[in-house]
Symmetry: C2
Subunit: 522 residues, 2 copies
């Protein structure tokens, strides 16, 4: 993963001329952004750890698995939000973890946590580094230093129970590594968020991730049957059965805990046989309200698409859903919807037929396979586009929420108004990518001129959007998690008493407060 | 509800002669049990509350809504387990709550909790009184008295959002009352546990109930979109969206909290339109292993039955699944399975066709509609049978668990062995009534001679079964909850650290420890 942008440098792309023209015409952007520092020009604050601290850590995990070198600290300095990238492009001194520690097993994690509690060192659990909410910021709170606890060595397929359809996966496995291990045996997890290529099993659990196939395979939390968590107070092994009435479901305290309550080391997950067949169909709707009602009908009738999503008019017009064609002449009029079906031949046929009937009845026009395949082809590439836009002088960032179907139109209007109010002239695009019987998510993409003080201007827009989300009955985040960036809204989200509950649990598990300070819990 | 047995006295049934013959032949039971005391012969310990306490409570909820009369205390003295009924039939002095309080709204509940904390009075939240795990025992812990907080006045359909398919229901609504209010508007919740006719919305939430239609409509916790909880530390309003990544899911702390963390006052639930069509089909399998594999195939393929269940050979032989024919000549050979399908005509046809194909391929023989309809006709009547068996001198009790498909045969064998080891000669019947892609529940019915000291003998059997469940990888309860009876296994279920988490949450919300002492949390 590039240190100052998304992903694989080989996949970075020049913006098509059409997009440059669009940026100039719509947003008045003419010049490229000033280039950031080269890697060897980046200046980090020096590590606050002493040689003695590093030696003590090395005694626990081995010399090769502790580093205070800038080249190791910098890639763990934060996540991949647009503010993260803007900070990374700064020529000022940047903050970073004081060291990187790569434990090899639970015992080493237990020992590292004990040492850090004793020496007053904060610990930021680190998976793929794809947070877009400041979840990896190297905050020390009141402590004297902070280390990044990189879990990549926990990379085993620990167990595969083919009768039950359950796999136990190490927290450090990336999406592709996990799927490759499962695919060798004929199985699939089916969790494909946009961060899939880099994000990890532990990160998916810690952030309540939701993938693009959520209509078919559920959110990541729906897939979790059990998890192991190492905390400063001991280790938890939660989840004995597919369902239980043995009190509160404690797994649900650690799903979404974002490294503040413990370190997730392994996750037992529901898996399914690799699907025999896959079918694609794209649709056009005259407007977002009609398309949204159509998605609602599909989900409430339970017709069973694996993927179903809807772009609004603006997103459809710039072909954002099909990254290869972005900025070209509109490929689809109205609002583009994409459906994908997976399963046995019979299941795919039945599900597609029922879904087609519901979408036709709701006013949709079939566009055939091509636009749906084009969406799938580029499904993980939007972050590359964001980087190119940034280089071209455009601020591009996303935010997302969810609410019930009845509140969805009001929520969309309120967030759009807040964003365009704070960033006059900005382009605001929206899509629905996760549907439930009772509601759906809304995902907004904002493009504006980078201009002066982009960090402050984005902060103001984000603040206005967050307030609008809570006021309109949405959740502050449907799948990006809380981190540092959404923390100001947690009291509104769960109430004072909800915050007190989280603090009480944290005090029990992490009395020294070493775990990811400044994140999630106000 | 009868004070010393299940349900409506008008529905009580004489055992058919065949059953009496079976009891004599199989278990050596010849004489009836000694009759218990009549209502006016029952002696309760006197209320420990002073007139001043009762006046203070009455000042909060009104004179008409506080009672220390034995006639009001007795029906709230416990739940409906077989040990509960045996205790109720005792001529010794019985314990009961010191008063019954019926609050009318959340403000009154808040005030009652504050008064009780100040005066050191325990509070047992009370819904339908159907606990079979000692969840309603009038335990005082270290406090001076205990009141039953009966929530029946919270009985409104507070909101119905027909666009989103969400209803907000008062915690005190019974199953039939809730369904009647929804049916008037064309909607259904679809939660039908055996306790349906008496149990309440708040009770379903507090115990993580699972209904007989769980394959189609999910467990009760799956249906919950939001809940309101009054605690001594304040009121929580949880659940802003159908799904969220805003940290731990705190709803999941109160689902299954069994009155120990707060009083659930209202629940926002996913509802569905009343189904247009319902179809029935029963099946026979040569043995339990074949039938179990067939249910697994159906659930893992996702063919969509609303109900699917399988009785073992013994349960099938005594026709336990069809209460009208119990004890008669076996109506079905091998193992009986029941399927029910609900939805639109098209959905029912598709789902039944796919399910048929899977069951046929797995070795099933269709028996047509009749046995499935007979099961549905008697679906809520098993507790009446239990009462009649008790009168006839037979100890009859149930217990249940769940695990992954791969562990299911071992779990069934271990529990059966534990029960027959502790109760030699007992009849042990088993069925699967809740299936998941990764596993299933097991529900055991035990029938033995009542004999001497039945409470002690059942306690020994229950103890052996509980240990066997944990050792074989099951959960101590799939849908009966924990109460007092399963509390000894909670440490094994969630670990020492899991227990510490629950205690920390309780200390934050209920520092005086007034809420349902002695239940759930070790």
């Amino acid at each position: 993963m590039k240190w100052d942008a998304w992903g694989d440098p080989a996949l970075a792309k020049e913006l098509p001329p059409d997009v440059k023209g669009l940026l100039a015409a719509a947003l008045g952007i003419t010049g490229d952004a000033a280039p950031g520092p080269a890697l060897d020009e980046v200046r980090l604050h020096p590590s606050r750890l002493a040689a003695d601290d590093l030696a003590a850590l090395a005694a626990l995990v081995g010399e090769a698995h502790v580093s205070a070198a800038d080249a190791d600290r910098l890639p763990r300095a934060g996540g991949k939000s647009t503010p993260d990238l803007l900070r990374r492009r700064s020529r000022d001194r940047q903050d970073a973890p004081d060291a990187v520690v790569l434990p090899g097993d639970e015992d080493e994690i237990t020992a590292v946590l004990a040492l850090c509690a004793e020496r007053r060192i904060a610990v930021v659990p680190f998976g793929g580094g794809t947070s877009v909410v400041g979840g990896l910021d190297p905050e020390r709170g009141p402590l004297r230093a902070v280390v990044s606890l990189d879990l990549r060595r926990l990379d085993a397929l620990i167990d595969l129970d083919e009768t039950s359809g359950e796999a136990v996966l190490g927290a450090g496995l990336t999406g592709p590594a996990a799927e490759a291990l499962l695919a060798e045996r004929g199985w699939e997890l089916g969790h494909y968020p946009q961060s899939f290529r880099y994000a990890t099993i532990g990160g998916f659990a810690a952030t309540r991730s939701s993938g693009q196939d959520s209509a078919g395979y559920g959110r990541f939390d729906d897939m979790v049957r059990g998890l192991r968590v190492v905390t400063p107070a001991g280790t938890l092994d939660l989840g004995r059965a597919p369902a239980s009435a043995a009190g509160p479901d404690l797994r649900q305290l650690f799903l979404g805990s974002e490294g503040t309550l413990g370190v997730i080391t392994a996750v037992r997950l529901r898996v399914h046989p690799l699907p025999a067949l896959k079918a694609y169909e794209a649709w056009s709707f005259p407007d977002f309200a009609t398309g949204s009602a159509a998605l609602r009908a599909v989900e409430q009738q339970g017709t069973g698409p694996t993927v179903i999503r809807l772009s609004d008019e603006a997103e459809t017009m710039v072909n954002l859903a099909m990254t290869e064609q972005i900025g070209g002449a509109p490929a689809v009029s109205g609002c583009l919807a994409v459906t994908v079906f997976e399963g046995s031949a019979e299941q795919v046929a039945t599900r597609q037929e029922l879904t087609r009937a519901a979408l036709l009845a709701a006013g949709g026009t079939s566009l055939g396979e091509a636009p749906a395949r084009a969406w799938e082809h580029g499904r993980f590439n939007a972050p590359y586009l964001r980087d190119s836009l940034l280089d071209a002088g455009a601020l591009c960032e996303t935010l997302e929420t969810a609410t019930s179907w009845s509140r969805l139109p009001g929520l969309r209007a309120a967030v759009t108004e807040a964003l365009t109010g704070a960033l006059p002239g900005a382009l605001v695009l929206c899509h629905i990518s996760h549907v439930y019987p009772t509601g759906a998510s809304l995902y907004f993409t904002v493009v504006a001129a980078l201009g002066d003080e982009p960090l402050d201007r984005w902060a103001a827009a984000k603040h206005a959007a967050g307030d609008a989300i809570l006021a309109a009955g949405g959740t502050i985040t449907h799948h990006h998690a809380v981190g540092a960036d959404h923390r100001p809204w947690m009291t509104a989200e769960i109430g004072d008493l909800g915050v007190r509950i989280l603090r009480a649990v944290k005090a029990e598990l992490d009395p020294a407060g070493i775990l990811n300070p400044g994140k999630l819990i106000p």
